[in-house]
């Protein structure tokens, strides 16, 4: 039985889809069998981010409606053997799927895959309730903005009410320079309010936009800092203990400088 993880945030635009794509790709890189489920019916874009848009024949509503078999709707990734996508429908809305149908679907997927990762839509209405219905675990994505943190707090409350205990936190799009200057919420402030376990911190990175537009995941880029952060998060999901990335600019060079005492 695989794990079913929902990636959620409440607020839109904090990076749920990007996170889902990267975690899925990262887990597949490590050799796990992974299914990504786009639960954002009506506004699908996980397929676009993964560059699989032109391969869609059936979608999630065809599966839950019994119009096709689950196997038929799953799209195999271009690059990784073990990575599959169950796309959302674009022409329907959130009411096309019910929480009970999602539970059945997630149960079926977890029989075959090591990890099932669900990309939750923004908001707290039916789309959210569908997305969390079949999940065993939750990852809450937020950014260092008061509005995103407020929504994350609300979501954590709703997850707890839905018996999804101990959600994990990813803080995305952190600009270390702004944090250092006191212009951006720092990580400690966020954790102080949300009071849940931190899974990882991802720095703001132009490479995310570049790779996303190419239909690739930044986690495939060995040099980017955000890719490194996502790789660490993936290892933490698999149960490894990985220390947090040092976000300070300069990295190795400034460390050496400090070491030889020029600073």
């Amino acid at each position: 039985m695989g794990e079913v993880i929902v990636v959620t945030s409440g607020k839109g635009g904090v990076g749920k889809t990007t996170t889902t794509a990267n975690l899925g790709t990262g887990l597949a890189q490590l050799g796990y069998k992974v299914a990504l489920v786009d639960a954002d019916i009506g506004l699908r874009n996980l397929d676009v981010v993964l560059g699989l848009e032109n391969r869609i024949v059936y979608d999630i509503t065809d599966v839950t409606g019994g119009h096709c078999r689950l196997r038929q709707a799953l799209i195999k990734d271009k690059r990784y053997e073990g990575l599959f996508l169950l796309p959302a429908a674009q022409t329907k809305d959130k009411t096309a799927v019910s929480p009970d149908q999602m539970k059945v679907l997630c149960g079926d997927l977890s029989q075959e895959f090591d990890y099932v990762i669900i990309d939750c839509p923004a908001g707290i209405e039916q789309g959210f309730r569908n997305a969390i219905a079949g999940a065993d675990k939750a990852i809450v994505v937020t950014t260092p903005e008061v509005s995103a943190v407020r929504d994350a707090d609300r979501i954590i409350g709703l997850l707890e009410a839905a018996e999804l205990r101990e959600p994990k936190l990813i803080i995305n799009r952190v600009r270390q320079k702004m944090v250092a200057a006191g212009d951006m919420m720092n990580i400690d402030d966020i954790i102080d309010i949300l009071a849940i376990d931190l899974l990882g911190v991802v720095p703001e990175d132009e490479m995310v936009i570049i790779t996303t537009n190419r239909g690739e995941a930044v986690i495939q880029d060995d040099r980017s800092r955000s890719g490194m952060a996502f790789r660490n998060i993936v290892r933490r999901i698999t149960g490894e203990q990985v220390p947090l990335l040092n976000l300070e600019e300069g990295g190795l060079f400034s460390k050496i400088r400090r070491f030889i005492g020029l600073k």
């Binding site: 407020r150 929504d151 707090d153 609300r154 954590i156 409350g157 709703l158 707890e160 309010i193 009071a195």
Partner: protein
Amino acid sequence: MDDRRRNTGRQMLDEIEGDENTILIRRTLRSGQKFYYNGNVVVMGDVNPGAEVVATGNVIVMGQMRGMVHAGAEGDESATVMAFRLQPTQLRIANHITRPPDGEVADSSAPEIARIKNGVVTIENYPART
């Protein structure tokens, strides 16, 4: 001697309110969660921004109070709000509504109590330092 003891006893009885309901919340209240209670409320956790606690009696938060709190919601002007860290977005007692001054972050580093004194909501350290 006997007299004094009896007096202390009577005074204590005045300070112990036995006929009111009190409820214990053993968790943190998060954004969007509202709690209403006819009586006193004790929160063993934080009250986060966007959460609301409304009580007809007193409110005690054994943690950080960052949300909206209303004590004495049915007009009891003797109601108080107490918290380990009192930094509410808005604080109401009976029909008095207060908020921290604009541009100022309510900074608190010690337990505090809010109550109505001479018709004004006053926030003081708790216990009061002399």
